[in-house]
């Protein structure tokens, strides 16, 4: 057995960010992006990898993901160019994606970002939907139980 410290360094080296969706994993593209059984017409937009994993654990979603890498915040100095929004727009240009689900947290930052992304995606021909309300105000996805997540996904609606 490797000494712990070596094992940990090895683990750090093995984890890489998926160049398509931003997920973390052992491979690039990640297991999800390279899985032929996933539905390639739907992309679920999440703030961070923790939210992606929360949705994966719930087994409620069989499409692809896009990790934004945060939320807009003028006060924290996070601007649109700091997020992976342009990468998302590029992914849509390829044409097979029909729906983007905005699965951002119900916080002010999450909802502002969702609104902003919806605005930016408006020129593309994809349907933009939002997780249904009924998520607790200020609620963060990775704290929600699977049932709540599944219900929110199934009841998603067209983004205003």
């Amino acid at each position: 057995m490797l000494p712990l410290i070596e094992a940990m360094t090895a683990a750090v080296h093995q984890v890489q960010s998926c160049s398509i969706c931003g997920n973390l994993g052992g491979n690039d593209p990640c297991e999800i992006c390279s899985d032929p059984l996933r539905d390639r017409t739907t992309i679920c937009l999440v703030e961070d990898v923790a939210d992606l994993w929360a949705l994966e654990r719930s087994h409620a979603f069989r499409g692809l993901y896009h990790v934004l890498g945060g939320t807009l915040s003028a006060l924290e100095g996070v601007r649109p160019t700091d997020l992976r929004i342009d990468q998302l727009i590029d992914r849509l240009k390829e044409g097979s994606v029909k729906e983007v689900i905005l699965a951002l947290n119900a916080t002010v930052e999450g909802q502002t970002t969702a609104h902003y992304v919806a605005e930016r995606l408006a020129p593309s021909a994809v349907a933009i939907t939002k997780l249904a309300h009924g998520l607790p105000v200020g609620g963060e996805l990775d704290y929600l139980d699977d049932g709540t997540l599944t219900a929110a996904l199934n009841a998603r609606r067209k983004s205003a």
Partner: protein
Amino acid sequence: MLNVVRSLAPVAGDTRGQLVVGQISLTNFRNYHDVRLNIAATPVVLTGANGSGKTNLLEAISLLVPGRGLRRAALRELQNQKSSEPWAIAVDLSTPYGALHIGTGSDPETGDGDRRIVHIDGKNVRGQNALAEHMAMAWITPDMDRVLAEGPSARRKLLDRLVYGFDPAHNGRVHRYEKALRERLRILREGPADAAWLKALEDEMAQTGVAIAAARRHMVQQLRTGIATTTSAFPRADLELKGLAEEALENQPALLVEDSLREALARTRGDDAQSGTCVCGPHRSDLVVIHRLKQCPADLCSTGEQKALLIALMLAHVRILTSIRQMPPIFLLDDIAAHLDDIRRASLFEELRTLGTQAWLTGTDTEPFASLLPHAQHGVVEFGQVIWL
């Protein structure tokens, strides 16, 4: 006037379920090291010298509802300065819906003085809002004496706190709104502004802003009813809610008001960027309070009249809380005797008994409470100890 006091309904009997702090234990909280008090349902009168710990005890009780308590203190201030053991408050509560144990304090595991943990019946609950499900509370403190004269911002905060007493989600709304407002101002100030980003923030402001305005309107309507249904010796107040969204909701559906607020925000971007403030929205609203008999706005009333108006408002609040929650809230009245004449004081005591609320009243002297004492528990506070008489 005295006749009016005497003709009040008899003290509520056993028919109505009460909300009662039956036991409270304080550990390393402010000037209390280790104190346990057993209390009955009747009003509690606490007297004692300046600095003995009366307000501290009331503050401890006020932490049994979400928020930062009646002093709005930073959590670190609550820790007893002579002890490094974490502060804690534990309460046995009896409610119309059953008995309940509530504990709150700084987190002994993380030692994090900035976060308070909440236990309900031994279980750690996430966030504080669960407290509001079991508890109902109102308070009057000397800090509030001039609140009606201090200007729109103080009155608006008072109103928001009353709304919060009914609807814990209100605090979240106000918080969201203010956050979006600050974000918007920052973007406007830093320029060049990203229009889509501003639009997203203004949308959040419009949505939460109208929800805030609607909740305030509802509250004011309730308060008017609460004021109308009393025969006490306290002056009647006429209430008026001033604000773009609040007034528009009078005769327009919420979605239309949202649109107008959104438009108004988009229109004032230039002005706001220059002035560094946001000129329209519910953060500008005001609760106008008018002494009905004198037809005089509260800010022009005497100190005693203002206090009487404030107490009248809080009594109306307690009355409607009682009817909506189906239990009288715990009512904390800190330093209450100051500024009240004999008639008003008698009327207040009578009303507290009628409401059936477990009221906690403090003062330095015993004399002002003389007429209440036969119906109350009287404790003398001394150096962080309470001696029951």
